[in-house]
């Protein structure tokens, strides 16, 4: 017999990572009387993309160095013109305040001898990278602020669906991943901050959890927003990153390139002019690897001892500190070896590319009372500062929204059906293990959806993903922990179907490798200068074009083309 826990709050934040902790803090700052609850399937002290901190800010717009207008311009060009500039502008405008507030909480950013923020250039144009060599305790600091602001936290509960009534979000349901309790939370507003879909493609190592993203981020929010009726956008603009081969983490060029490191082919020659991650850069990497001039490497061997030691001290303590033991076990050293780089598995993540739940410049989705922020909310190239900015916007705007609404009782039949859906694998403990079901699903993603994309392969993929509902029904779970993984496979399947349908719908190529179609190899602004959005309508996945919002910063995209190819080698 399953216990049911019933909770009630004004604002519910699902996911306590970068965006979620900030959303809760800002909601409480806006109205200390309001009840704010963070629901987290891990523990907010060490959860999300920055569980082990971050080594730098990639999108810092600091007065005296750059302006929000310049930032919007650079991201407009990098994202081939498809974006809501008003949303990107927020990251440029509010990022500085976020950095100052984090600074006041004890987060350490690199400063020069005059005490000014010490910005570095990694982007094609402009200085936006602010190193954080001591950024390892970011999550501990945020956790302390969540407590100080008296936001409530429920750890180890995973949400599975947003509850919707009368067309608005009224809470969420899920279960305790340790004791198995069914959890129903009524809320006046829900903020989804569940991160990327990092377990979409399968890493070449074959290890399910050896992903670039924190593998807890399985596309939960993409799936929950979809089932709540919200629009998603740019899903065909996959996340694909240049990573340390096998280790599958960043090398990290953003740290090392300001010191003079660069990406080179096996002959030691540069083939990209800029190490800022973009689809265009990834296409050059893909071509280089297929030209016979691979493997490619991040080259540091030409740097002096002091510089290499400094790079190492940053890389071994932040973000993915186990890089050190990975290199050590292979007898590799930055003084003597280039770091072999490879192309990551595909994922969905607007923090790096542009795929996510549609949000406007207030963090609102298309469903009233439902907000999204962070890697799952579609604000292109938004990175960590963008997650903080949109967490902040969603938190403050949700508080404003809940003033005028009341709690609504969830529908009893809907709750019973969702409960039955969740616990089905527990009724069948000897069913097929989630590991096998997930492995097969993600192998299909690799085989048929990984760029270069073509119609025949994607048609096969789509068909397999649709039929995979039957396979999900065969899964068995022996305990609540296994049940968590089973329900994550449901999220991954939803994301895979969205990725296939959106990729088939946009009949052109755009964003370099992210949406490179063999059968439509050129960019076609005439027909496709628009978003491809999708939503659930009458239980069907419907796709449609959504016009790009009018620009607030003029960019001539005919003249300004993002090109990082090095032609003379």
């Amino acid at each position: 017999m399953t216990n049911t826990q019933q909770l009630k709050t004004d604002v519910l934040v699902v996911g306590g990572g970068t965006a979620g902790t900030m959303a809760a803090i800002k909601a409480k700052q806006a109205n200390p009387e309001a009840e704010v609850l963070i629901l987290e399937k891990a523990n907010i002290r060490r959860s999300g993309a920055i569980a082990m901190g971050m080594d730098g800010v990639n999108t810092a717009v600091i007065p005296g160095n750059s302006t929000p207008e310049q930032y919007v311009r650079e991201i407009t060009i990098a994202n081939d013109g498809i974006l809501n500039q008003k949303a990107v502008y927020q990251t440029g405008k509010l990022g500085y305040e976020v950095i100052q507030e984090l600074d006041s909480w004890g987060v350490k950013f690199q400063k020069d001898t005059y005490g000014n923020y010490d910005l570095k250039q990694v982007h094609r144009v402009g200085k936006y990278v602010l190193p954080m060599p001591e950024g390892k305790d970011l999550k501990k600091i945020l956790t302390r602020q969540v407590k100080r602001h008296k936001a409530k936290v429920t750890n180890r509960v995973m949400a599975t669906r947003v509850m919707v009534k009368d067309g608005r979000a009224i809470g969420a349901v899920g279960f305790d991943v340790r004791n198995g309790d069914f959890v129903v939370i009524q809320a006046k507003a829900v903020i989804l901050c569940t991160g990327a879909c990092g377990r979409l493609g399968l890493p070449e190592s074959g290890y399910l959890y050896g992903t670039y993203e924190n593998p807890t981020n399985a596309g939960d929010g993409y799936s929950m927003a979809y089932h709540a009726g919200a629009e998603l956008t740019n899903i065909e603009c996959f996340q694909i990153n240049p990573l340390i081969k096998d280790y599958n983490g960043p090398a990290c060029a953003y740290v090392a390139s300001p010191f003079g490191a660069y990406t080179a082919n096996a002959e030691g020659h540069r083939f990209v002019s800029c190490d800022y991650w973009s689809g265009q850069m990834m296409l050059e990497i893909w071509k280089e690897l297929n030209s016979g001039k691979g493997p490619i490497q991040l080259k540091m061997t030409h740097l002096d001892e002091d510089t290499i030691s400094e790079i190492e001290s940053i890389l071994w303590s932040n973000e993915r500190p186990s890089r050190e033991r990975f290199h050590e076990s292979r007898g590799e050293n930055y003084r003597t070896h280039g770091v072999e780089m490879h192309i990551s598995e595909i994922g969905l993540c607007s923090g790096h590319s542009a795929s996510g739940v549609w949000v406007n410049e207030k963090g609102e989705t298309t469903v009233p009372g439902l907000y999204a922020a962070g890697d799952m909310a579609s604000v292109p190239h938004n990175y960590m500062i963008g997650a903080f900015v949109f967490g902040r916007l969603a938190g403050t705007n949700a508080i404003e929204y809940v003033r005028d609404v009341e709690h609504l009782e969830p529908d009893i039949d809907w709750l019973a059906a969702e409960k039955a859906r969740i616990y089905k694998p527990m009724q069948n403990p000897d069913g097929i293990p989630h590991t096998q079901v997930e492995y097969k699903l993600r192998r299909i993603v690799n085989d048929y959806l990984q760029p270069p994309k073509n119609t025949y392969k994607m048609d096969i993929a789509l068909n397999k993903f649709i039929n995979y509902h039957d396979t999900l029904d065969l899964m068995g779970a022996k305990d609540p922990h296994e049940l968590m993984r089973c329900m994550e496979v449901h999220f991954i399947r939803d994301c895979a179907e969205m990725a296939a349908r959106a990729s088939l719908y946009r009949k052109e190529s755009r964003w370099g490798l992210y949406h490179y179609r063999i059968d439509y190899p050129e960019k076609n602004n005439q027909e496709w200068f628009c978003h491809v959005n999708l939503k659930k309508e009458d239980n069907n996945m419907t796709l449609f074009k959504r016009p790009v919002e009018p620009y607030i910063v003029d960019v001539n995209l005919e003249k300004e083309v993002y090109d990082v190819k090095v032609t003379s080698k």
Binding site: A42, R46, G210, P215, R330, P433
Partner: protein
């Protein structure tokens, strides 16, 4: 369904001589929730092979009882 149990090399190694029975530090911080206590010994161990080799367990262990290896397939 017919099932079998396969042996796997897991990345998180716990030195039982150092692991404290009353401490849950590693279990509480693991993002993937893969560590549990052996009810008979009170010592922590890696029950589920789902590791991101992210290291909070190792860093937060008060007695340095934990060593995280890179998972065998990636090593």
């Amino acid at each position: 369904m017919a099932l079998t149990t396969q042996r796997v090399d897991v990345p998180v190694i716990v030195d039982e001589s150092k692991c404290l029975e009353k401490c849950n530090a590693c279990i509480e911080v693991c993002p993937l929730d893969v560590l549990v206590k052996n009810p008979e010994t009170g010592k922590a161990y890696m029950k589920y092979d789902e590791c991101w080799f992210c290291l909070p367990c190792e860093k937060e262990c008060p007695t340095n009882a934990i060593t995280v290896q890179i998972p065998f397939l990636l090593r």
